[in-house]
Point group: C2
Chain length 342, copies 2
DNA sequence: TTGAAAGCGATACCAC
DNA sequence: GTGGTATCGCTTTCAA
């Protein structure tokens, strides 16, 4: 039998008004100790739980944040889901998850808005300018993580973004490789028009050019595993091979290293240096030793949640937050920390 | 300025009753072509979107499904998120995501119930019997994916489950290894009390014992990367090494192969056969060649959604669905299909 | 501090 | 087919 306990029933049992019940479950409302006790006892006895739907209807706050993503194969994104939900849960928010092909985002958005979400976080997908404005009109803050909104959307000041300092990251990579003495430095691009790729490549090229040693060769991997494999083969098919490769993200870097090691029997980093970009779990890079530019998921997610809360409370206008990044050496000696359930 | 358009306003503009607006947006309601047209025009002009929250309040159906998970490091689980959301979205449902430590599930559940979800899907986490009953009382179907509920909960017939045929899978592994001529066959267990591990190991041991060749050695990896590394070292530290290892899931199998290859300089499968279990993206196993028992995420998710819908409509009682599994050979030649955005 | 009463934005049932 | 009205479960004035 389906039991639905309402505040009415609790009130009846506790011999108080329904308002009193409501107040008891509203933090910071004025209820006497006496009443509160009676209410809680009755609520407990009946197994009462406030109906969040009814509350949202009247408060016009659902405490739901929509999270829109595309394919999760790049392990960076599951990490975002995990950290973001945890953080939001701790702040009393909940995450409504949407998986969407890159070109279907607009359709999905209308569903999202029906749920009166308090905010929208988008990762790995971009929003059309029109829809960004729709959200702005509806008063729903939109935050893009790891992507920067279109210029046009920016102008409307409709969406915010949280990214790492991709430009500086690109520069750091170039500097490091030059210091290590490399002179035949190649680049594997991700999605060519994505802000991440543009910025990383720009910083990278700037330093190389300034040093009088422009990028030796370039191929495009579209941020996909297969694309990166193809790109790697392409870069290394000639006799004069690169001695270092900057790969636009870790997901592709792993594919690249597979090809280098298995198909071409090259050793990383002895024969060729490989540098990646992102923050993915150790399980993802397994037995590889990989230099990578870390963009901390934790930092990005914290910034996202802060921004979200401020905007929900109308404290600030949309803007772009840039998180610093750093280069680290990963190797296959793993500390004991990762857990995966099967 | 925050625009909130209600059906009232649409009604006024369209010169019809508010009921007519409601009907227009209710599939299968009786509205004349004429009225519908007027309403849609007005709605369009105002940018009206039905308020799902208000609808849920009265229909007592939120069309929200809660998805509860633990750590996502095992790539099987992001895959579950992806496939499940996609399928549910297509059926007009939405996914409320909860990340929860294994021992906090009960606390999280009370939040879930406040949102009047139509159903709960749990992956990699188990529910206490008490809470399972709470859900049953609230009329909220609970489906566990890749885990079987406690016996006690089963008795109450409170929760359903979707699992693959772990027992048969275990048997298949043993048979295959025996056929290949292995006689020193080791096992790396996952979480020892998890239903997945128990069943896989049971089937595995049964065949080995019957063949007069019981498991050569055994270690526990707790379904974690580090645990599996430790377990592998343990299994191979003596002089008489196993010639094959069945690892209770792919996530651990990858860790095991790392240790075999890097620390012990053994070749897989030349020196030692490794067999895993699960269905994880190719990007996860990278350059390895791995034999594995596939439990299809797609199949499991489909079954979950079917079960969910039937139970929401009260058509059937909770029960356990078992999906057949199959053994396949994975190798590092990848077809072009996986995509990961950076 | 407390209770009565007015909504929040939709659906459902009712006559017409 | 259509419009009026009660209702869903809660928060929020407003008097008392």
């Amino acid at each position: 039998m389906k039991t639905v306990v309402t505040s009415q029933q609790v009130a009846k049992l506790a011999l108080v008004s329904q308002s009193a019940v409501s107040r008891t479950f509203t933090p910071g409302a004025s209820v006497s100790k006496e009443t509160r006790k009676k209410v809680l006892a009755a609520a407990n006895a009946l197994g009462y739980r406030p109906n969040a739907i009814a509350r949202s209807l009247i408060t016009r706050r659902s405490r739901i944040i929509a999270l829109v993503m595309s394919y999760l194969e790049n392990q960076f994104y599951p990490l975002v889901i995990e950290k973001l939900s945890q953080l939001l849960q701790r702040q009393g928010y909940h995450v409504l998850m949407f998986i969407s092909e890159i070109d279907e985002v607009d359709g999905v958005l209308s569903e999202i808005l029906q749920y009166q979400v308090d905010g929208i976080v988008m990762a790995s997908v971009t929003l059309s300018t029109g829809l960004a404005n729709t959200c702005a009109d509806a008063g729903v803050p939109v935050i893009m993580i790891n992507r920067v909104p279109d210029i046009s959307a920016l102008v409307r000041r409709a969406t915010s973004s949280v990214t790492s300092d991709n430009y500086q990251g690109g520069r750091m990579v170039a500097q490091l490789l030059l210091e290590r003495g490399h002179r035949r430095i190649a680049f594997i691009a991700g999605l060519e028009n994505s802000s991440t790729n543009l910025e990383r490549e720009r910083g990278f090229n700037e330093v190389l050019s300034t040093a009088g040693c422009p990028a030796f060769r370039r191929a495009v991997g579209h941020y996909s595993f297969e694309g990166a494999e193809q790109a790697t083969r392409e870069l290394f098919k000639c006799a004069d091979r690169p001695d270092a490769v900057f790969v636009a993200n870790d997901h592709m870097a792993i594919a690249a290293m597979d090809v280098l090691r298995i198909e071409l029997s090259l050793s990383v980093p002895r024969d060729v240096s490989v540098i990646g970009f992102d923050d993915i779990p150790q399980a993802a890079w397994g037995s590889y030793s990989l230099t990578t530019v870390i963009q901390s998921v934790q930092d990005m997610v914290s910034a996202t949640v802060d921004l979200l809360q401020q905007q929900i409370q109308g404290e600030i206008d949309p803007h772009n937050v840039v998180i610093p990044c750093r280069i680290v050496e990963r190797n296959s000696v793993r500390p004991a920390q990762s857990v995966g359930l099967g």
